[in-house]
């Protein structure tokens, strides 16, 4: 609907080119090969996923690489049923935090692999604490969505 006063519509489109750096580069090579990489802190012993170059808590390098489990426990989720600008995935979808077995932080990803169109069914199916496992795409290109989603075990 037109506004009662004059406005100008504008947008900013600027091309940026950001370096992955060594740690993300190796992490996403892992994605391409159906591997989820974490790194282990030698001081506190925590396994951090996705992999990173240092432990934020101990502030020391984390140079021990770990292939994490592909299964874990759902620790938080929400059912996204609306559109927002820049959204990379068509709604409805389920954003989630997953604690992969043997790791010490939660991994942000998606829950899927079943009919998401019926919300009441989704609320019956998806529960914090449920076991989930990784489902991979057949066309992988070193992207976070090479891992399609985590599905109920």
């Amino acid at each position: 609907m037109a506004k009662e006063f004059k406005t100008i519509k504008t947008e900013i489109r600027l091309p940026y080119e950001l370096a992955y750096g060594a740690t993300w580069t190796r992490f996403f090579e892992g994605m391409e090969n159906e591997i989820i990489y974490g790194t282990k802190c030698s001081k506190c012993g925590r396994v951090l996923v996705p992999a990173r170059s240092f432990c934020p808590r101990c502030f020391v390098d984390t140079d021990e690489w770990v292939e994490t489990a592909q299964e874990g426990v759902l620790t938080a989720w929400s059912y996204v049923n609306y559109k927002y600008f820049g959204q990379p995935i068509e709604p409805p979808f389920i954003g989630a935090l997953i604690r992969l077995d043997g790791t010490d932080v939660d991994f942000l990803h998606l829950i899927g692999g079943f009919d998401l169109s019926d919300f009441d069914l989704v609320r019956k199916t998806v529960k914090n604490g449920m076991r989930v496992k990784a489902a991979w795409s057949n066309e992988r290109k070193g992207h976070i969505l090479d891992l399609k989603y985590f599905e109920p075990v």
Binding site: L48, P56, A76, Y79, N81, Y82, F85, D106, I144
Partner: protein
């Protein structure tokens, strides 16, 4: 502290969409706050502004576009990106150097012009990992809400009651963007945008140019007979990655502890008379009660049910309507200072609380599920 700092005047504009442009609005609010105490731009010591390039549409860079509207040109002054309560404290510090006897803190955000908040907060994510999942502030809040309800037995009705309270309170606030008498059912059966959050439990995007004029103790005496004193401040920032954090054990209690220590407060529930807090999602007001020490962990819902935080209660929280009623994203923290100041001065009009207010708390938060928190304590 080496000296005392007072708030001597405040000004703000209305949150609903207006046809005025950002530049002129900022000038009007700056002029108003200076005129209230008869301070000339030339006599203004320093300025700290808060804004965000993501929100103000890429008009020039940082503060360069609006700088003269704040009276700032040719002055030793600065700009903070993001949470405006940080800018408030930087202004306090500038006065405490002893080199400035006045400081203007101004936060600028014109929410009617920016894309929806979720499009802006999607840009808080990193482009390698979390942006590919579509993470934004509302999704993070929805994770947190479900965990909070499951861990402590908080009900959806209790969360919705926060919105009922705040949107009812804002009926008395001429600056508020969203207001009305609603029932718990109205809130719960609004559009289920991102389960378990419904649309009316999510703050709108509002306009807000918000100004606070600070002065040294000596200058304050010259400018006003109703100074409001700065008593304490604390902030804390959590890890960036959501999965590294405990969403139910966040940084607000650290920020509050730091502010309480500076202000000499040992029992916040008894010593604080009123709080204006930032609750972009209804349930967060209940969590923040707990982290601010107003009640034990997990009892935010019970505290709300007891009526203590109602406008006529013993510890009113958000008598202005809070952020659910008015959400100029960047300015919302500083707007809490403005509302607390009006209450301390007895100048809050229809939204003035029943009880006497001698010590008030203002809180701001930015980032996902409360990544960053700031708390300021003010006193009459």
């Amino acid at each position: 502290m080496p000296g005392k700092v007072a708030i001597v005047a405040v000004a703000q504009n209305a949150g609903a969409e207006s046809k005025d442009n950002f530049y002129d609005q900022a000038y009007v609010v700056t002029k108003e706050v200076l005129d209230k105490v008869g301070l000339n731009r030339d006599d203004l010591g320093t300025i700290v502004s808060a804004s965000s390039d993501i929100y103000h549409g890429g008009i020039s860079c940082a503060n360069s576009y609006y700088w003269e509207t704040t009276g700032g040109f040719l002055k030793n002054a600065s700009r903070q990106d993001g949470e405006s309560l940080f800018a408030f404290f930087y202004g306090v510090m500038r006065i405490l150097t002893g080199y400035y006897d006045s400081a203007l803190i101004i936060a600028l955000c014109k929410g009617s012009e920016n894309p929806e908040n979720d499009a802006c907060t999607l840009m808080y994510t990193d482009p390698f990992y979390t942006r590919g999942i579509g993470l934004q502030e509302t999704m993070a809040a929805a994770f947190q809400m479900r965990l909070y309800m499951e861990r402590y037995g908080i009900t959806e009705e209790q969360c919705a009651k926060v919105a009922v309270k705040n949107l009812g309170n804002s009926l008395g606030n001429p600056y508020a963007h969203r207001k009305g008498r609603y029932t718990v059912e109205d809130i719960l059966y609004s559009e289920r945008i991102i389960d378990p959050l419904t649309a009316m439990q999510v703050a709108p995007k509002s306009e807000g140019i918000v100004a606070v004029l600070l002065a040294s103790e000596e200058k304050a005496k010259e400018l006003t007979d109703k100074p409001v004193w700065f008593k304490g401040y604390g902030s804390s920032l959590d890890n960036y990655y959501l999965g590294d954090r405990d969403l139910l054990d966040g940084q607000l209690k650290n920020a509050a502890a730091r502010a309480y220590k500076m202000a000499g407060i040992s029992d916040p529930r008894k010593e604080i008379d009123l709080a204006e807090i930032t609750e972009p999602y209804a349930f967060q007001e209940l969590m923040w009660y707990e982290d601010l020490g107003f009640c034990p962990k997990g009892e935010g819902g019970r505290l709300l049910d007891s009526g203590v935080t109602q406008k006529n209660g013993d510890l009113p929280v958000n008598p202005s309507g809070g952020v659910l009623a008015n959400n100029p994203y960047v300015s919302r923290g500083l707007q809490r200072v403005v509302e607390a100041t009006l209450q301390l001065r007895g100048e809050a009009g229809e939204r003035q609380v029943d009880r006497e207010v001698r010590t008030a708390l203002a809180h701001g938060t930015h980032g996902f599920a409360g990544q960053c928190h700031a708390v300021a304590i003010l006193g009459s």
